[in-house]
């Protein structure tokens, strides 16, 4: 029997074996620690959670890809940190014909691509046509641009399908950055996912979806980058990102993908002076969509009651310690909202009165299933906080029933009218109110106040009003005060009907180690990598 083994076995002493093994492991650990690579001071490591599947402008649609592209390429126009539109590869704002259907863009001379070939109108035409033909986001331009041609060696002419006020903003989209026709000759009709040859301040010298190496471009036409190169890395989860920043493994950390508690901890460290914090323009909104085509939210009184019951300030404080400011308009202030306090304010007494008018609170409670994306931590926190707040304020009128669902499933079922109320977020493709109002309100086929087909239906609200679509379409051709007033009128009528409940604003943030300058963002919310520098 095994148990009968004599105790004085002349076996190799197990304890000695284990201690040798442990000593070996310890020695290896110490060796590895001793081999800690000297961090080279001339390059900076910037971390984010975003992986980059493709660096080709025709495919880039994620935050990570557009952030990378903004350092490698130049758009025709760009939004400065103050939100002002300024020419980049163009030399002046577009010259629009009297009928508004032809636009000429003068282009900068003396610009070279990373492969040494010159940038000219032909290259711009090649890049625009390539984007229109195979770009995944080409729908942004498809219904506006009819033709593209070079009207001179450095002048671009665009034929428009209809007058478009937001054209300069559209042309500031980084996906329209020119690429070298020589380098992309073989990829004119297909994407080139892992290489990029453009005109930007950095050259891409190594690419994988998790790591990209950027070297300053010696022949760049604009100001030279203030650092010797950037290594962009992607780490898979919030804890890893936070840990890498704390341990000093990365120089700059972007807030994308960071959980709220990690962001709060970093913000607190920045307040203590342990880090430097930069903040970009708040271009992302969080909101709740109400299904207005079905009971109970086909009742406008009930929608108003719900709007009054939402304590945005408290929720923002509890969920993000104020990092997500409360929002009472679908259009963010940075984009030119007409009024920042348009939607009903938190007023529990008024909410109770409206709930009563709608037939609730007299021993009858509204059971509201609120769907949220279970893979987005802030959504869950918001829903749980609101649930507690409603239980405190209006327990006899309404009870919230949180319903978590994976985001992919939510998006798929949104347009099918599957949710009575659902929490979502949105960021406009351009920094103009149109980019927030159209995707939520536009309706191509309606029946009274019911939208049967169009963006409003796809958004899950199914709400429209007679004349609203006409107002939206008319605003596209207007400019200046007239346009602003019309858009403000659209915002007001939407606020009165409350098919959506704006909740909060989200700004991109970045934290840098204290030896670095404070990170800055451009007007599109992208970190200005070329401005990152170590302080003397």
């Amino acid at each position: 029997m095994a148990g009968d083994c004599p105790s004085d076995l002349p076996l190799p002493r197990p304890l000695r074996l284990i201690s040798r093994l442990a000593a070996g492991l310890l020695a290896t650990g110490l060796l590895l620690q001793g081999c800690q690579l000297q961090r080279r001071s001339d390059r900076l490591v910037v971390a984010t959670s975003a992986r980059v599947g493709s660096v080709d402008p025709v495919r880039a649609s994620t935050f990570g890809a557009t952030q990378l592209l903004s350092a490698l390429g130049d758009p025709l126009y760009r939004l400065g940190p103050d939100g002002q539109l300024e020419p980049a590869l163009a030399t002046a704002l577009p010259l629009v014909s009297s009928d508004g259907l032809t636009v000429r863009v003068p282009l900068r001379q003396g610009v070279r691509f990373h492969d040494g070939t010159p940038f000219d109108a032909a290259a711009m035409v090649f890049s625009l046509e390539r984007f229109l033909a195979i770009g995944t986001l080409s729908y942004l331009l498809d219904d506006r641009i009819a033709s593209v041609r070079a009207s001179g060696s450095h002048e671009l002419e665009l034929g428009l399908k209809r007058p478009t006020t937001v054209l300069p903003e559209l042309l500031s989209t980084i996906n329209l950055t020119p690429v070298s026709p020589t380098a992309y000759r073989l990829n004119a009709d297909k994407a080139l996912p892992d290489r990029f040859v453009g005109t930007g301040p950095y050259r891409l010298t190594a690419f994988s979806d998790q790591q990209q190496r950027l070297e300053p471009f010696a022949d760049y036409w604009g100001p030279r980058p203030r650092n010797r190169g950037i290594d962009l890395i992607s780490l898979g989860n919030s804890t890893a990102l936070y840990g890498a920043m704390r341990s000093g493994e990365v120089d700059v950390l972007l807030s994308t993908g960071l959980h709220e508690d990690h962001q709060q901890a970093l913000a607190q460290r920045a307040e203590r002076g342990d880090l430097r914090q930069g903040q970009g323009p708040a271009l992302e909104i969080g909101y709740i969509t109400l299904h207005t085509d079905q009971p109970p939210f086909n009742n406008p009184t009930l929608r108003q009651a719900l709007a009054h019951s939402l304590d945005r300030e408290r929720i923002s404080e509890r969920v993000s310690q104020g990092l997500r400011p409360a929002l009472r308009n679908l259009v963010p202030p940075a984009v030119g909202a007409s009024n920042q306090e348009l939607w009903p304010a938190y007023a529990p007494a008024r909410a109770r009165q409206l709930f009563r008018e709608a037939g609730y609170c007299h021993g009858r409670r509204l059971e509201l299933p609120l769907t949220f994306r279970s893979n987005i931590p802030s959504d869950r926190l918001m829903v749980l906080t609101w649930q507690a707040q409603l239980a405190r304020d209006l327990d006899d009128c309404i009870v919230l029933q949180p319903n978590g669902m994976e985001s992919t499933t939510v998006y798929r079922q949104l347009g099918e009218g599957a949710f009575a109320a659902v929490m979502l977020d949105w960021r406009g493709a351009v920094t103009d109110p149109e980019a927030y109002l159209f995707p939520l309100l536009s309706c191509s086929q309606a029946e009274g106040s019911r939208c049967l087909k169009g963006e409003s239906a796809l958004s899950g609200s199914f709400w429209t009003e007679p004349g609203l679509q006409q107002q939206l379409v008319r605003s596209e051709g207007l400019a200046g005060d007239e346009r602003r007033q019309l858009l403000a009128a659209i915002e007001r009528r939407t606020a009165r009907a409350a098919p959506y409940l704006p909740l909060w604003l989200v700004s991109p943030r970045a934290w840098a180690q204290p030896a670095l300058a404070t990170p800055r963002f451009d007007g599109n919310g992208r970190l200005l990598l070329q401005e990152l520098e170590r302080q003397p």
């Binding site: 076996l11 197990p14 490591v45 599947g53 898979g236 804890t239 890893a240 493994e249 998006y411």
Partner: protein, 343 residues
Amino acid sequence: MSRRRALARYLAARLALVPVMLWLIASLVFLLLRVAPGDPVDAVLGTRAPEAARAALRSQLGLDRSLLEQYGQFLGNLLRGDLGESLNSQEPVARIIGQSLPASLELGITALLLAALVGLAVGFSGIARPEGKIDLAGRLYGVGTYALPPFWAAMLVQLVFAVWLGWLPVGGRFPPTLVPPSGSGFYLLDSLRQGLLGGDWQTLAGTLRHLTLPAGTLALLLSGIFTNALRLNLRRALGSDYVEAARSRGIGERQVVLRHALPNALLPVLTITGITVASLIGGALLIEVTFSWPGIAFRLQEAIAQRDYPLVQGIVVVVAALVVLVTVTVDLLVALLDPRVRF
């Protein structure tokens, strides 16, 4: 029938079943992906793209065709060895797998070797005094590490060694400020070659530093299986008749254990290793996600989230083929080493 012929027949039967198994797995994945909610078009265009743009992309990706047509094309391509293109990046799936698989294999093989080394050493350590303190500690170690939730263990290891102590990197496969070694895709081998040929040992050090935490954590989680397997089998072997016979012939206890009991106790461990390799796929996913290790499991998780049908199908088929290959190889090894095995 001679043993060798029986073995050949067995092997032929197993290999003949491989295509059937792969077809079943591929078909199941194909079907499950289509049944699951979500749309790859959403992942590419976002949710607010106009219907016309969505329809155009759906047509471009071939998703507008009937399920049967898509299935037929998928199987046809698979038979030709064409795994298709990723819907998201439009890169060939074979290239994506070719880039990710070496990372996973490097992590898996290193972890398996470490797990075997530590697990077998711990399992063997208590044999001198069964039910003694060391044996009890070994038992606790075996059960404890086996029961550890991988995600929790990985986070804890990451927090302690990377964040608090700052000894090792938080994640990734290679230092971002260095240029990764080129060659086979196995950084350990490539950087070792670079060190031997060019004297560049910094690359090897960087590779080792990044590999240590994920491989160490995975090894810790797997080592308990080896500990328990060896401990139980060795005790059973030491109580068997042939060991008694050896003792009665006056053979020393050291020889009895090392020459008679241990080889027999290691045979079931070999079988367990084969099974462990298969279970490694699931365990590695959590490790890869936690340590941002750009392996195939990480890719699979991402592809599922994006409903990247061809990439998910490609990865599952390749991984299934690998698992089948490993289990057949282990069966073969056991048959060659153990004359008692009959087919």
